[in-house]
């Protein structure tokens, strides 16, 4: 337990330091004292305050929330699928969520201007709900499939399903735009910069609910790691547990898709980072560590994207791929947790 507390404190300190860095440095460099003054509202410069509080802070908060949600959802999914390479992105849930949004937008576009204006008015919640439907449908399919095929096959199928959904999304949004509805710009790439301050509650609220569900399912999910029969013999109602864990995953992940797009790799890696800290697979201690670890990864990616490059920003998923893909390769090839799967 002390181990979890110390590791969490370390990760939290790193997260705060990185957040301060991201708020301070960028196309316009500030000093740390200027940033802190702007955050506390004691600064005199209006422009600095605007940059820190209205441009950078929402992005930093979005990255922390989304990264944390993906990390925790990753822990749940790896336990639910008993698959160390499962996560919302790798099993196609994020792409499924995008497809759900695209379907909704297209339907509204063809239904006429009234539907479009309705959708625009409630853009935050309606897009989250549409994403949730897509995420849930994909998750149900993958869960059914997960009982038939091995871990690696499931990973490949998930990635392929993701490509399919992303292709369909792109085509649908193209026709939706032609039909006159440009509600959603689309996300070929992931980004935390597009989150409006007004949308932050819509991002945070479902994630908090998901966090609550994750905590409730943590104990029985630990039993499920030993297999369904053992879980039953330990008093777990496996059917109920599956639904709860699935619901938790959906509400954690759907707002991330809706507002930040398909953020890759974080959900897959964060649980492994957390397990390295705890030296155990028990779910409860993993939750804070995977949440903080995911937030840290997301913020690190964002910091690189928004470093003061000349005249442009980099793509978030490009950075996450460069950082994340080698880690996944290392996990697949060398991790003792993968033994028996290779």
């Amino acid at each position: 337990m002390a181990r979890v507390t110390i590791s969490s404190a370390l990760l939290l300190a790193a997260l705060l330091a990185l957040a301060l860095y991201t708020l301070t440095y960028g196309q316009i460099g500030l000093t740390v004292s200027e940033t802190l003054a702007a955050l506390t509202g004691s600064g005199s410069d209006e422009m600095t305050s605007q940059i820190v509080n209205e441009i950078r802070l929402p992005r930093v908060l979005a990255a922390i929330l989304a990264g944390g949600a993906l990390g925790i959802a990753g822990v749940l999914m790896q336990a639910l699928f008993r698959n160390p390479v499962a996560d919302a992105w790798s099993l196609g849930l994020l792409a499924g969520g995008q497809f759900g949004v695209a379907l909704t937008v297209t339907a509204a576009a063809f239904a006429g201007p009234d539907a479009i204006s309705f959708l625009t008015m409630f853009a935050g919640p309606s897009i989250t709900v549409a994403a949730a439907a897509g995420v849930a449908a994909t998750a149900a399919v993958m869960l059914a499939l997960g009982r038939r095929v091995g871990a690696i096959t499931l990973l490949v199928v998930g990635l392929m399903l993701g490509f399919t959904a992303q292709g369909l999304t792109s085509v649908l949004l193209h026709f939706a735009a032609r039909a006159g509805g440009r509600v959603y710009g689309g996300w070929s790439d992931a980004s935390f910069a597009g989150v409006e301050p007004a949308n932050l509650p819509w991002l945070a609220l479902p994630i908090l609910i998901g966090l609550g569900l994750a905590v409730v399912t943590a104990k029985p999910l630990t039993s499920l790691l030993l297999g369904e029969t053992y879980a039953k013999s330990l008093g777990v109602r496996v059917g109920v547990l599956r639904w709860l864990a699935l619901a938790a995953t959906v509400v954690l992940v759907a707002p991330v898709v809706a507002f930040c797009g398909p953020v890759s790799f974080i959900g897959l890696i964060a649980p492994h980072v957390a397990r390295a800290f705890t030296n155990s697979a028990r779910i409860m201690p993993l939750l804070p560590l995977a949440g903080l670890g995911g937030a840290l990864l997301a913020l690190a990616g964002d910091a690189i994207v928004h470093a003061p490059w000349e005249q442009h920003f980099l793509h978030l998923n490009a950075i996450l791929a460069i950082l994340g893909a080698p880690v996944v390769i290392l996990i697949l090839v060398f991790s003792p947790a993968m033994r028996g799967w290779r």
Partner: protein
């Protein structure tokens, strides 16, 4: 303590009952071996007694309470299970597996108290699995894994322990060791241990009582001596090639008589 009353087990539909209308009374401290040929219904009977599948008829009772309708959380405190099925459990450490045995007793958060940890530690030593600490469960050999699972069941401090063909992966000294440790556990804790096995001679040697599934849905219960004397073992296992010799207490090849 454990009572099977007119119990029929099996599956709905064409397969139907595998074991029908059997009865058994087991007392605290009993070490009972369940024998029978492949397909005689050992696993189905064990799963039903463990409450993992509903009976087709009759009841299995623990201290007078019907196991099939017991609340899952209550049942988990009273019945521990070890199965032969091989599951991959990525990331689980040996300590994680053993402490899962404490899961039915922990708070909703699953937090382990120092007492829980002490029980788990003790269970690891009892099962001779001390040396596997710190390793990944999936990294262990089949035999080592069985020991850890037995430690987990011991940590569950259940009144009834049900073990399905767990000795299959162990070598002979390992089997003797595991079976005697289970017998000691039954004696020391006043638990009732039910073990299904293909190890006929060892079971006949070590069990307090034998439950013999005849393959036709019947169950004969008694001491090894009684069952052998009544010719039940031979009736259940003999084929054209092998026959049980009551005198030597083991199977022998049937000689093709030349004339």
């Amino acid at each position: 303590m454990l009572a099977l009353v007119d119990l029929s087990v099996g599956y709905a539909g064409a397969r139907g009952a595998v074991v029908a209308n059997v009865a058994l009374e087991a007392a605290p401290g009993d070490f009972i071996c369940i024998l029978g040929r492949n397909g005689a219904g050992k696993s189905t009977l064990m799963r039903t007694v463990a409450g993992l599948q509903p009976p087709l008829g009759g009841t299995a009772r623990l201290d007078g309470e019907d196991i099939a309708t017991m609340r899952p959380a209550t049942r988990a405190r009273r019945i521990a299970v070890v199965l032969i099925e091989r599951q991959f459990s990525p990331g689980l450490k040996v300590e994680d597996v053993v402490s899962l045995g404490r899961q039915p007793f922990t708070s909703w958060q699953g937090h382990l108290t120092p007492e829980d940890r002490a029980i788990a530690d003790d269970a690891l030593s009892q099962a001779g699995a001390d040396a596997f600490r710190g390793r990944f469960f999936d990294d262990l050999s089949d035999g080592e894994r069985q020991r850890v699972l037995i430690a987990r069941a011991i940590a569950q401090t259940a009144r009834v322990m049900i073990l399905d063909e767990i000795t299959a992966f162990l070598d002979l000294p390992g089997r003797v060791e595991v079976m005697s440790l289970l017998r000691r556990h039954a004696r020391a804790q006043g638990a009732c241990v039910l073990l299904s096995s293909h190890d006929l001679d060892l079971s006949l040697e070590l069990a307090d009582r034998i439950c013999l599934l005849d393959g036709a849905g019947g169950l004969a219960t008694g001491s090894a001596g009684d069952l052998i004397a009544a010719g039940r073992i031979g009736a259940a296992f003999d084929t054209k090639e092998v026959a049980f010799s009551p005198i030597r207490r083991r199977f022998e090849l049937v000689r093709e008589e030349a004339g």
